[in-house]
Amino acid sequence: MSALLEVKDLVVKYGAIEALHGISLTVNQGEIVSLIGSNGAGKTTTLRAISGIRRAASGSIVFNGADISRQAAHAIVRSGLVQSPEGRGVFPNMTVAENLDLGAFIRNDHAEIAKDLERALGLFPRLRERMGQMAGTLSGGEQQMLAMARAMLTKPRLLLLDEPSLGLAPQIVQTIFKIIREINASGTTILLVEQNARMALQVSHRAYVLETGKIVNQGDAKELASSDVVRKAYLGH
């Protein structure tokens, strides 16, 4: 298996505060890898650094063989690394259709976009009924679906998902994770950030455990799920 994303000794600071103290992680082509940890551990910060929104103080981020740690955020998206941000980040004053169009912003292959749109709407039939509705008026779950469908339309090689299940009812959480599997099955590599460690470990191949800016545990998702430390700290039994 070849590494699609390789993060080495990543340090990120907010002013004087160091949020990440040199973390390293690898995501291989075709995998679902999850990054779990409690509030304020630095999960979002990691994704923001990878996406180029927050500059790394030091360390390297290699995507698809190229160092992207100094690249502009929009250029990183164009190279195939796409993030669906925490809190969904849909554009509330635009319609569902316009939000989806923005997902395909970097693409010009209209016929392919139409096909991918069909595929995304097939996964999220709820969105099809609401194409003309303002995204801000969607329910939380629908907004999350929109955010994921939008990210799919960017046609990423690597998709970063920041807490897709946050604040959703258990039923919808099930749906979301099912779709994460489907997206992965169709060839998209996924780095998943979750607080819902149980679900995350179920769908993932491998996982990293982040605690106050440090990777404290890593390995096969099934093994981690059954390890005592992780069970106590994140699975609650």
């Binding site: 929104i53 164009r78 941000p85 980040g89 004053n93 635009m94 169009d101 923005l102 912003f105 970097i106």
Partner: protein
């Protein structure tokens, strides 16, 4: 005053308000667009507008002078060139101001950006007053100076204003009267109250004119005291005064002024501005670039996660806002030809009114800026026509206070909602 006159007066006030309102709206759009993407007030925006008026003035003077033509007789494409130059100049300045003054402060505290904006504004106001240079090659006649500087100048009438809806009431062949400044028509002329009459006639080229000289159309204003009928062959006093032999046997037509004159410049201002506003509306709401602008306006970060080059979008927004200001700056001196020095209070007030228009409509909202522009002009013109001229500016700022009290986010602004 008769009811017809009163209605006519009302309609004239309305037309003036719409013309000036569309200019306010164009400038207000610049404030609102920039606020939309960067969430700060670009205080240098009104100075970009003033730069546009001076660029138009300079271009008009220099081009007509180099070509050796009277501005009044300049072909239409000279006005077009002047318009495009003003746009190019303002767009360049808008781009540079963003690139070199504001972009380095991205992420800095709001106050720093605000102070910088005021600094850029003062810089433009004061640099604009540096004395102009003489255009050396053109022999240094006074009209040949590049007219930047502290002295107000008159914008050359590149597009001559005229009333579009005069009525032709008589046509025929004219004869000169018994004394200078009087003419005789070959038919009766009915003079109505509250109207002006002018006689247009074709003046053949002078006897000593070089071959190929064109005949010109001249105008004589009819001087009459009373409504009534002037019989054929009766002498009519006219201004300017012409000798009998100059008008002897020339073709003429008599034009009656309308109750509500529609002026070419006003039509140009209103159609031009509304055309631009519709274009902007389409750009912002129907194109990919417009979607990118709206995405950046909501969140620069999320927009960049869509692969949008947010810096390019921000630059484009500045260029767009500045170009709209330049369009207003080209149109404004066609109506009010006196171009004051760049720091003059009249510009400050005008910029302030456009800003108020943007705030009243809901800053950041494109349709709001247009609505605000028209609203401000309507209240200003009707207030000063029917209540008191002195309070002209009071109405505008009164409206601002009222709107801020009742709807703090402006008429079309979304009621303040924090981002989730």
């Amino acid at each position: 005053m008769g009811i017809r006159i009163r209605v006519a007066d009302f309609v004239q006030t309305l037309i003036a308000a719409i013309a000036v309102g569309s200019l306010y709206a164009l400038v207000a759009l610049g404030y609102t667009l920039v606020y939309g993407v960067l969430k700060f007030i670009n205080f240098a925006h009104s100075d970009i507008f003033v730069l546009g008026t001076w660029t138009s003035l300079t271009a008009a003077v220099v081009i007509t002078n180099k070509m050796g033509i009277e501005p009044e007789h300049a072909p239409w494409w000279v006005a077009m060139c002047v318009f495009l130059l003003a746009i190019a100049m303002c767009a360049t300045f808008g781009y540079c101001i963003e690139r070199f003054a504001y972009r380095p402060l991205r992420g800095a505290p709001r106050l720093n950006v605000l102070i910088t904006a005021i600094g850029v504004s003062l810089l433009l106001q004061n640099v604009g007053q540096l004395p102009g240079k003489t255009v050396a090659e053109s022999g240094g006649s006074p009209a040949a100076t590049i007219p930047f500087g502290a002295i107000p100048r008159n914008m050359p009438a590149l597009i001559e204003d005229r009333v579009l809806n005069e009525t032709s009431v008589a046509e025929g062949t004219m004869a000169g009267g018994s004394k200078r400044g009087t003419v005789k028509l070959d038919q009766n002329l009915t003079i109505e109250a509250e109207r002006q009459y002018r006689i247009e006639y074709v003046k053949p080229p002078a006897a000593d004119a070089p071959a190929g000289a064109q005949s010109s159309i001249e105008t004589l204003n009819v001087v009459v005291a009373e409504p009534g009928t002037i019989a054929a062959g009766e002498e009519i006093s006219t201004q300017p005064r012409r000798n009998a032999k100059d008008v002897e046997g020339t073709k003429y037509r008599v034009l009656r002024s309308p109750l509500v004159p529609i002026r070419l410049i006003d039509v140009l201002i209103v159609t031009g501005s509304i055309g631009l506003m519709i274009g902007l509306q389409i750009l912002v709401f129907k194109t990919k670039l417009g979607r990118a602008m709206r995405a950046v306006s909501h969140s620069v970060e999320t927009a960049s996660l869509m692969g949008i080059n947010t810096n390019a979008v921000i630059s484009f927004t500045f260029v767009l806002g500045s170009a709209l200001a330049a369009a207003a700056a080209f149109l404004y001196p066609l109506k009010y030809p006196l171009v004051n020095q760049t720091a003059h209070g009249i510009w400050v007030l005008l910029g302030l009114k456009a800003f108020v228009a943007a705030v009243v409509g809901g800053i950041g909202n494109v349709r709001g800026a247009v609505l605000g522009g028209f609203l401000i002009a309507l209240i200003e013109f009707f207030g000063s026509r029917y209540v008191s001229t002195e309070l002209r500016d009071v109405y505008v700022f009164g409206l601002l206070i009222l709107v801020l009290l009742l709807r703090p986010s402006g008429l079309l602004g979304s009621t303040a909602r924090e981002k989730v």
